[in-house]
Symmetry: C2
Subunit: 311 residues, 2 copies
């Protein structure tokens, strides 16, 4: 923890993602200043950070006595300029509104050293647009975390064509220091990698519902008992590599022609309303909104155990 303890990270935005970013930096000995103009959100954010830390305590990954010390390392600000004072790295995590992001990037860039990186946590707004009015847009990039980043240990780094190698290298180092795997995209693409992969599977899942092949809960089950188990241990390419004698080359000869023809057929659906309505109804029957938060805690504890097991 000592090496990071002097560095100050500024998080802009105190919602779920901002608070989760704060948690992971605090856990690794950083000082954090969190800017959030809505004072009520400060309290929510503190609560959410404590909840995150509790996960580590419950799984014996954190000594409960250290929590108070850790919480001393975060300061909340309603004033952006004060939150940025002395910062070494800025992560923006406000709502997904392009104009708001453009403006806050401009503001941030006017109030920090010229070489401090400004990263956006956006899930889909590209940094080339967000950094339009930023001073020195070569230090700007997308830094899209898993949700939450203290459980899903990676983040996508996406450069615009302006982004400097220095900013990318600094970001990779920063991620490694908080034990996240940097996934460096070579260029901008809608949805980055995580959401494109998730979206591709969801598109097919909704299409199966739309064509009345199977129930939504059966899709969840077959992924949970099958693909998910595999993919938690190894990714999709290693999975097919090990699934056929002769490896992925043999797989490409046997299975790819079949996949290709499967997805070339007409009558494709693309997130039809009918299917979405059906899945919403099925989900609400299985889990009323009131039980959501308990289920999220259950999920996070399970994932935590899986991570420890897969180490």
């Amino acid at each position: 923890m000592v090496n990071n303890s002097r560095k100050l990270i500024t998080i802009v935005g105190g919602g779920n993602i901002g608070s989760a970013w704060a948690t992971v930096f605090l856990l690794h000995g950083y000082r954090v200043s969190l800017y959030e103009n809505d004072f009520e959100v400060h309290a929510k954010s503190k609560k959410s950070i404590k909840k995150g830390l509790n996960l580590f305590i419950e799984s014996n990954n954190l000594d409960s006595k250290k929590v108070n010390n850790i919480l001393c390392n975060i300061s909340y600000f309603k004033d952006l300029i004060r939150a940025l004072s002395g910062t070494k790295y800025v992560i923006e995590a406000i709502n997904e509104n392009l104009n708001d992001k453009i403006n806050i990037f401009k503001n941030i860039s006017q109030n920090i050293d010229e070489d401090v990186v400004i990263a956006s946590s956006s899930s889909f707004l590209p940094i080339s647009k967000i950094s339009e009015k930023t001073i020195n847009k070569d230090r700007c990039l997308n830094l899209h975390p898993g949700n939450p980043p203290y459980l899903l240990k990676f983040a996508e780094i996406v450069p615009s064509k302006f982004t400097s190698k220095k900013a990318l290298d600094q970001t990779k180092c920063l991620l490694k220091s908080i034990k996240l795997h940097p996934i460096l995209l070579k260029k901008e693409v809608d949805g980055f990698v995580f959401n494109r992969l998730q979206g591709a599977l969801l598109k097919e899942a909704y299409s199966l519902i739309n064509n009345d092949i199977v129930e939504a809960n059966d899709i969840d089950l077959i992924v949970r008992k099958g693909l998910g188990l595999r993919w938690a241990v190894m990714g999709p390419f290693e999975t097919i590599d090990l699934n056929t004698k002769g490896g992925i080359e043999k797989h490409s000869k046997i299975m790819i022609p079949f996949y290709k023809s499967m997805f070339s057929k007409k009558g494709k659906s693309n997130f039809e309303k009918k299917s979405i309505k059906k899945v919403i109804a099925e989900r609400r029957k299985l889990l009323p909104l009131g039980k959501m938060s308990a289920r999220i805690s259950w999920r996070d504890k399970k994932i935590f155990k899986l991570i420890n097991l897969l180490k």
Copy 2:
């Protein structure tokens, strides 16, 4: 184990899938007769079944003293008629060749009682075609297991338009008796559910390689550290349901329009050769074919632990 101990299951084909089917039935107290016309395959199959049982012993899920008794419950035959004598359920698991399957289904149906179900393990050949020349095609269905079925605890049941409710019900009961979740498809669809979902993600993954966005190993990493972990704990619909305040309905308003536009753009690729070659090269660099079998054992042990943890 007592209840199943009198029932005889016939497996037709002694390759990986046939042997894995045999393993799961043996583990649950069934008697198995395995037909395989290639005598050399008998020895391989026995070895593969022992390897499967060892996984259970190593993880303290099976008493090693019981192995010899279990292995007494399987008999190997080079003669189809003898393998079918007294059978209560037939599972075909020969190579993925349509004509061979049509012929063996016809042969099987001529040599068993009229109401014994004949199920095909094919990953993609539809039962409507396989059962073309079968006597009483109403007892035929696709029964597509995870690989191996003693680790991935589900199987897809796919009826043709001829398949009887009785055959489906019997199959569901059989699967439950060996602790597999039956995933009942309402009608035939190319690739069933498992391979359509896997194929959809692979298609997008290859497309990301084709467009030079990211390396194959980074895709494996982001799935392993992110989507896979989530999906091992809960399926894709529950995942998005818990990921947005307001659940899947809110998700459908925020994210679906974005996904929709993402996948509506031109320039889609569909398993381009360039990308496949690139991934093959990267995989072989990461894992030489000679180390494949050790890695498969590693994978299966990990999955076994995950299953125990997720119980």
